[in-house]
């Protein structure tokens, strides 16, 4: 066991995979010499050389498009999008090729690749650096979208992602890159993608969250506890595929569900989870599924960001409302 934050854990996962698999290639903007603007790839170019860990021209479409090419030709590229707001030039490559290659070639070709990307708000960043647009990626057939919420999960999930033969969007909640430290197993281990994890057992209400929102829910749970409310907390971990079973089981027990997400509300991940709860546990529901989410607005600049973000009070407010419903 070793104490790590999420940056260390992701770095460790990349290090392990680069070390054991020559087909793994890591690249993106400023990931080589500088080791990434968040230092996630620090030291890897030194250790594995510039042929395997390198800086690219500033062009996201080029980065993802070449990764598709490398992947069909037998490599396992792990590419970085510097910030969530800058993946859009690559959207065409993701939606038109990376997610469809296996299907289009009738299974003859596949694109085992990982697109890593810091996302989310709460760090007083400039425009286009704070969005949580996982829902639009979860909507793309053929793409897997996963989000760790702890250093341990980040390491295990990234190793699983690199070993997967699918294209995976690996979203990193940058707000908790360094905020959470925990003991992480040394050496290689992996966490199966697509499985949620139940972080706290409870009886009164199920709260589903992921990424940086998990910690906010945990804070709200302290208030809930004081109010005598017992919360079951599920860390979704995977936006697609969704772990229906874990959600269904929990809602059948608690009869109530709240999703806590950072992205805009309409057509968001919360909407999908709510629908699953309705489909799977309709007769168990004692309150309408509820969403604590961003509003349908642009994430405000730092001075207004607190109006947008989910604070523990907003979550507790909803917990109380739904339990009393």
């Amino acid at each position: 066991m070793k104490i790590m934050n999420m940056v260390n854990a992701i770095n460790d996962a990349l290090d392990i995979k680069l070390g054991e698999d020559k087909s793994v290639i890591v690249y993106g903007e400023d990931v080589g010499v500088e080791g990434g603007v968040f230092r996630v790839t620090e030291g890897l170019q030194k250790k594995y050389g510039a042929e395997r860990v390198f800086d690219t021209p500033l062009a996201e479409s080029g980065i993802v498009g070449t990764a598709v090419g490398m992947a069909v030709a037998g490599l396992r590229p792990v590419v970085e999008m510097q910030f969530c707001g800058f993946i859009y030039p690559a959207f065409n490559q993701i939606i038109s090729h990376a997610s469809r290659m296996r299907n289009r070639s009738r299974g003859q070709l596949e694109t085992p690749m990982v697109i890593r990307m810091p996302y989310g708000g709460g760090i007083n960043a400039l425009e286009h650096h704070s969005e949580s647009m996982e829902a639009i990626f979860g909507h793309i057939p053929g793409l897997k979208v996963v989000v760790p919420s702890t250093p341990h999960d980040a390491k295990g999930m990234l190793i699983a992602a690199i070993e997967s033969n699918d294209t995976i969007l690996f979203m990193e909640p940058k707000r908790i890159y360094r905020a959470i430290k925990q003991e992480v197993e040394e050496g290689k281990f992996s966490i199966p993608l697509g499985k949620a994890s139940v972080l706290a057992q409870g009886n009164d209400v199920t709260v589903v969250a992921y990424g940086a929102m998990v910690r906010e829910v945990q804070k709200a749970m302290l208030m809930a506890k004081e109010a005598g409310i017992s919360v079951e907390l599920i860390d979704l971990r995977s936006i697609y595929p969704v772990d229906r079973e874990t959600i269904a089981k929990s809602v059948k027990k608690t009869g109530r569900i709240i999703t806590v997400t950072e992205g805009p509300r309409t057509y968001g991940v919360g909407s999908e989870i709510s629908q699953i709860a309705i489909e799977e546990a309709f007769l168990h529901l004692e309150a309408p599924p509820s969403r604590v989410s961003g509003y349908d607005v642009i994430v405000p600049l730092p001075k207004g960001e607190h109006h947008y973000m989910q604070d523990p009070y907003k979550i507790f407010y909803e917990i109380e409302r739904i339990v009393k419903y």
Binding site: E29, D30, V33, E34, G35, V37, D55, T56, P57, L58, A59, S61, G62, G85, F86, Y88, P89, N124, A125, L126, E127, H128, H129, R265, T266, Y295, D296, V297, I298, P300, L301, P302, K303, G304, E305, H307, Y308, Y313, K314, Y317
Partner: protein
């Protein structure tokens, strides 16, 4: 000029040397002394403001900021030549041009303090907000160029991007469209040698950035961007070309980002002191100052006297910006649609109900 400095000839256009001596009389622009002095003072003011902002950031009074330090001659030349009704399409390192257009220092402060209101540019006509997604603004410049041409207006468009910005598809598409449409757009690429940590030689295998103009059938030129006179002459000539209906133009302005990429960046990770010192010798302010002193238009004593005055003025405006006050909750719901959809209105109401509840819980 564009023939003489055809990018295929691989010669960089410059007018003064590192000591401010005119080495290219033929292309020395005509600027009268008073005007030149005013320009120099504006550059000094912009540099002082830029350095002050970095120190405010260090004091925790603003958030992330991308300094202009070392590149000021480029935006200044554009600022002098851009007219009130011309269009400015900035990236985010062109303070001089924005101030010249009528953007206030206070607005720049507000933006980097984290208020969207800093992008309102209430006194600056025909100026787009700064654009963070690299080169995404350049197609807008081409589109504005189309509108200008369509409406037969006497306007030019000046669009900015950085060296690394030439790697994005948007740069190429913008140049291609502008070339096909023959629109009055001046694309200025500030080649400050780096895109964050990545040196320009890793962005392209081309001999220069200016040479990319050739492929698009567009006039191009590589200019010493730290030579104010060369920049002035180039933009003056480009404006003439555009107004004659012979645009667009691509200008590669060769410069150096003396500061960090942004206040969150640490350049010692990827570049050497030796290199930084080499570029210090080519500093644009130093060169223009040397020219002015040589012409007896300026003295170091004057400069020593004026800088504290600028600092005071900048500080005054900054302190004023700091009083901008709290950010009203309703602001985040504004300006998304011509008319707010009912559902969004309901979201705002929900948020207000929550705030009312919260105010009973948190004192």
């Amino acid at each position: 000029m564009f023939d003489e400095y055809n990018p295929l000839n691989k010669a960089m256009f410059r007018v003064i040397d590192n000591d401010g001596k005119v080495v290219n009389k033929k292309w020395m622009p005509q600027i009268d002394d008073d005007k030149l002095l005013k320009i120099y003072k504006d550059i000094l003011f912009a540099r002082t403001a830029d350095l002050q902002i970095v120190s405010y950031q260090r004091q925790g009074r603003i958030f992330t900021y991308p300094p202009n330090y070392g590149q000021e001659a480029i935006a200044a030349a554009a600022g002098v030549l851009i007219r009130e009704n011309d269009w400015l399409v900035p990236a985010f390192r062109e303070m001089g041009a924005m101030l010249a257009k009528g953007v206030t220092l206070k607005e720049i402060f507000l933006y980097f303090m984290g208020y969207e209101d800093g992008s309102a540019f209430k006194n600056a006509k025909y100026t787009l907000p700064m654009s963070v997604p690299i080169s995404s603004q350049l197609p807008h410049a081409a589109g504005i160029g189309y509108a200008v041409k369509y409406k037969k207006e006497d306007k030019v468009v000046i669009g900015f991007a950085g060296d690394a910005g030439t790697s994005e598809g948007d740069f190429h598409e913008a140049l291609n469209f502008a070339g096909v449409w023959k629109v009055p757009v001046i694309f200025i690429i500030q080649n400050n040698q780096y895109g964050i940590s990545t040196p320009v030689r890793m962005q392209t295998a081309s001999d220069s950035l200016a040479i990319k103009s050739i492929a698009y059938g567009v006039k191009g030129i590589q200019v010493d961007g730290n030579d104010f006179f060369a920049m002035y002459k180039t933009i003056e000539e480009s404006v003439r070309i555009c107004r004659n209906g012979e645009g667009p133009v691509l200008i590669e302005a060769v410069t150096y980002r003396k500061g960090a990429h942004t206040t969150s960046d640490d350049p010692t990770k990827y570049r050497s002191k030796v290199e930084e010192e080499e570029w210090d010798a080519k500093d644009p302010v130093k060169r223009l100052r040397a020219y002015l002193i040589d012409k007896n238009l300026w003295t170091l004593e004057q400069e020593e006297k004026i800088i504290p005055q600028y600092k005071e003025e900048i500080d005054r405006q900054f302190t004023e910006a700091e009083k901008y006050g709290p950010y009203p909750a309703g602001d985040i719901f504004r300006f998304l649609y011509a008319e707010m959809p009912d559902d969004l209105r309901e979201q705002q109401a929900q948020y207000e109900r929550f705030l009312a509840w919260k105010s009973t819980k948190v004192k």
